[in-house]
Symmetry: C2
């Protein structure tokens, strides 16, 4: 590691920022956080491993940092929660240049600042090679109000925010070599639906909610399994991202099975606005008492839909 552990910690500490929730941040055995009275604590952790979740030759370091924190914040969004603090465990091999680390931190901390989240601690280590990051995000939500995956009941409408499949389509182009060079900071930067998640929770609209990190089909299956319901999706209703020079809509398979979208997927027994906090919300199907998932095409034909989400790079390469 060209940057020593001590220097790295000093640098992170200088850049980490403050936040009213933070009583004690980096520099002690543990961080000390203040959570609003009447709130419960939310905790989530997510790996960002080189050659598993990202590739140095494809993803610029700012994007890797931004995505690393997005993974954690998006889990808080999916509970309807408010993020309070993030914790970064970062192991670096000697093959990782100091400039890479600097830009990674810039990307991560830019997103943290945007949402008023302090980087409050973590761990550092020298790894044998490459980059292993693990992000922990701590948030909070008023007592009893966290939106779980298990709250769906049959005959509820299924909704999704934004448009799906953009990141999966772009990544596929990289894998096929149709797109040369690295994905820049401005591209592939995932959406994050914190405001929408909080709005939905405050208005008590969602019965079950999840973020789409593994792909629509996989994450919908998580809701179905935890809630013991099935689901019918209408193929034409699934909002597909536009991509490439022609701004064409991506293939349905990317929208159905691609990962890394970080949009919110939820069920509701009530009518949901078409736009929430400036984000389009689409009704894409409904839950059923029959278990299993089905996809209904334009002719009304239903076929079985299997979870076929995100595979890590390892298996694909």
């Amino acid at each position: 590691m060209p940057v020593t552990e001590k220097k790295l910690i000093q640098r992170i500490r200088r850049l980490a920022g403050k936040n009213p929730s933070l009583v004690m941040g980096i520099g002690d055995d543990a961080a000390v956080l203040r959570i609003p009275a009447g709130h419960e604590v939310l905790v989530t952790t997510d790996f960002s491993l080189e050659n598993v979740h990202f590739r140095r030759e494809w993803h610029c370091p700012q994007l890797v940092g931004w995505r690393c924190l997005t993974r954690g914040l998006s889990d808080i969004a999916a509970m309807g929660g408010e993020p309070r603090a993030a914790f970064l465990s970062l192991a670096l091999g000697r093959d990782v240049p100091e400039t890479w680390v600097q830009k990674f931190l810039e990307g991560l901390l830019a997103l943290a600042r945007k949402h008023g989240v302090a980087l409050a601690g973590g761990d550092t280590a020298e790894s044998l090679s490459g980059i292993q990051a693990d992000i922990t995000v701590v948030g909070s939500v008023p007592k009893g109000k966290a939106v779980l995956r298990s709250g769906a009941r049959p005959n509820q409408q299924i909704y999704v925010t934004g448009a799906l499949g953009g990141p999966a389509s772009a990544l596929s182009e990289l894998m096929l070599g149709q797109h040369l060079g690295r994905v820049g900071e401005g591209h592939l930067r995932p959406h994050l639906r914190l405001a929408v998640g909080q709005w939905l929770r405050r208005h008590r609209l969602p019965c079950a909610m999840i973020d789409i990190s593994d792909g629509l089909s996989t994450d919908l299956e998580h809701i179905c399994q935890e809630s013991q319901v099935g689901a019918d999706l209408v193929a034409d209703a699934i909002p597909r991202a536009r991509s490439g020079p022609g701004k064409n809509r991506v293939d349905l398979r990317f929208a159905l099975h691609g990962g890394d979208d970080y949009e919110l997927l939820f069920t509701s027994a009530r009518k949901v606005p078409a736009t929430i906090e400036g984000v389009a919300v689409s009704r894409i199907g409904q839950t059923t008492s029959r278990t299993g998932m089905r996809l209904i095409d334009a002719h009304g034909t239903a076929r079985r839909l299997d979870a076929g989400g995100w595979e890590h790079f390892r298996q694909e390469s």
Copy 2:
């Protein structure tokens, strides 16, 4: 990874245990925890990386799991806090046998059960090779009562729990090949001073506290730097572990610079009992207004003491 990610998560979920703090554990986007009214939240994260923090040929898997969680719980102890829940991020290469994972989880969960801590979430991934674990522990402490590293003032007494240098001495024997085979479950199992830390906090005795994970000299330097004081240690007063067949006291250097002890090091302006919660407490020196650390030998001669703690295996091998 011989055990699929899905099977691994199901297994962990089955074994994870419950806890009154836990509203929602494994199986949602984030865990939901209840923290006692009037408490602040403590959060710490610690890596356990193969060939950095442990070696498969030296450490049995139960011990690796036990130590992995000890690292997190010990940080909560050093704040005087009560642990509430643990989160395990675990990346495994295909070279890691399923039985290794099973035994690792057994070790980790045995310690969790012992202290009533639920395993409330985490992440799993397939890594390129080897084992990368990151443990997050969330605890709590009454508002304003967390014991920080920064509270020491000049002319306070310095205390340490237990005896130091045992793990470093045993590891040194392994490195020199003087001890064949792996370190078993019963050996090298680190102490954990949660009850002592809480007792000290309740009795308002410590002004600054830290756990000895990096070695006495390194961790004392952390207190000195955060508190802007110096320290004089009395060599003969430092409690040394006994080790080997003859049960001889370990070399002073292991007690001074060895890591992985997980004993508590603290300063106090008041008299501290010689035994707390069944654990011996030794007075080993005092803080000074002059910065820097000194070691005073049996003849009263003082020499400069530099932080020379734990080096990861990587640099030593």
